[in-house]
């Protein structure tokens, strides 16, 4: 039983860490496009901005359960199977990417626009402004937002049990709810609490170091 709890923990960590990584990368990319295309951005493009803005809102409106099921064909196409922890990473990433894009966009918007103007004034290119000014200045805030993302994904991953993703959420549901093993459910919940605490603490420490 403890072996199964251990395996469920590893599955959760596997799903959350990989989907956090992928949605961080894709969300960052999307945020860069949003911030550049926004009115008053580096390359204003109202049409593109409105389309992406609406797309992000649309994806974020879906309940995760529904999105996960709707994405089954996409998942099979990408990872070759529709069930399991690896399969769960696809809907987790797709659900979290627009969320992360908004969080990173918010971090970028906190950067003092005067600093961007100063960089333009000595001839920095758009790419240099994004990676050496915006990213540099926003990094502490992006780190904190990544902790928010990872914790949100931990919550989503509990639902991945529905497509056989396993993990602590599924463990707690299967044993605690279906088999009345309240003790095992408590263990699973305690582990989830510990993981949330660990993610947030890491985020805070890193934020303080970077600031």
């Amino acid at each position: 039983m403890i072996g199964e709890l251990f395996r469920a923990t590893l599955e959760t960590l596997y799903m959350v860490s990989l989907s956090t990584l992928f949605s961080l990368l894709m969300g960052f990319g999307l945020a860069v496009v949003l911030i550049m295309a926004a009115p008053g951005g580096l390359r204003p493009n109202p049409g593109l901005y409105r389309a992406l803005d609406a797309g992000v809102n649309l994806l974020r409106s879906f309940p995760f359960m529904i999105l996960m099921i709707a994405l089954i064909p996409v998942t099979s196409f990408i990872v070759g199977m529709a069930i399991g922890s690896t399969a769960a990473i696809v809907p987790l990433t797709i659900a979290a990417t627009p969320f992360m894009a908004r969080l990173v966009e918010g971090s970028f918007l906190e950067v003092n626009p005067d600093v961007v103007e100063a960089a333009r004034s000595f001839g920095a290119s758009d790419a240099q402004i994004v990676f050496r000014v915006l990213l540099k200045e926003a990094l502490p805030s992006i780190v904190l937002n990544t902790a928010v993302l990872a914790i949100a994904l931990l919550g989503y991953s509990a639902m991945a049990g529905a497509i056989g993703g396993g993990g602590l959420g599924a463990f707690a549901y299967n044993y605690g709810y279906l088999r009345f093993r309240t003790d095992l459910m408590m263990y699973a919940v305690a582990l989830l609490i510990a993981i949330v605490q660990a993610i947030q603490t890491c985020g805070n420490i890193l934020h303080r170091k970077l600031r």
Binding site: D114, A118, A119, G123, Q128, R132
Partner: protein, 320 residues
Amino acid sequence: MIRVRRLEKHYTPGVPVLRDIDFSIEAGEVFGIVGHSGAGKSTLLRCLNGLETYQGGSIEVMGRQVKDIDGAELKALRRDMGMIFQHFSLMSRKNVFENVAFPLQIWRWPVDRVRARVMELLELVGLTEKKDARVQDLSGGQKQRVGIARALALNPKVLLCDEATSALDPDTTLTILDLLRDINRRLGITMVVVTHQMEVVRRLCGRVLMLNQGRNVALGDVEELFLAPPRGLENFLEQEFTVIPGGTNIRLAFPRDISRQAVITTMARELGVSFSIVGGRLDRYRDDVLGFLIINVAEAELEAVLGYLEKNKLYWKVLS
């Protein structure tokens, strides 16, 4: 160096921000752009290095039409034009050294040359000891020194100053103005100074353009503008003098060659009149001191006094 012809700028068609602006700036000059807030002076400054676009007229900077260039050419123009800002615009996560080094890194200078150049610049602005300090730990004056060092890093030909001392206290303002004046003299760098502080104009600028609601209201030599302010600009140029009622109050201004002569006492002796001195001030200009004096003359002696002032070509004006 810079030639602006019939410049027009608007954000919304029909609502001009700048209208029919004409001026030229020669190499090595310190040129002021003054006006109340909202007059369009910061916008005009940003048109010079292409941070703002314009809709009509032309701006030629170092032989290049700002409107016609983009990409690499525009970046090269900006490399040759440093800029300093009201709120310093330093990067909060870089220390003093890294902030000054940043433009050099953007232009891919090799590491050893960056180091040498940054140390040279920090010495110029007097911040060698602060090189590892965090920007947040600096005073306002020190932050602006970092801004100046950063703006000069790429050896620009022109330095654009956008309200560079407006966020500083009066003492710090003077030290920053002295530093800028010194840089202008030693490096021969052309400066365009946007400000609403008359102190800055007097201490730093040789010529000045005055803007009001996006229009040119005066353009000329600073001393001349202060000695004989064009109609409507008196209050703008100096705080109003408080005058006593009765008699006639005359404001006298003394240019450099007359400043040191005893004009007033000579007049009193030659005309045999008496008058009261009701106000006065000495102002330091770039390299000169200009004097202002208000005298109150009795009606009976007014004609003789005005005749004397006219004959001796003094700058004077009857205050109402």
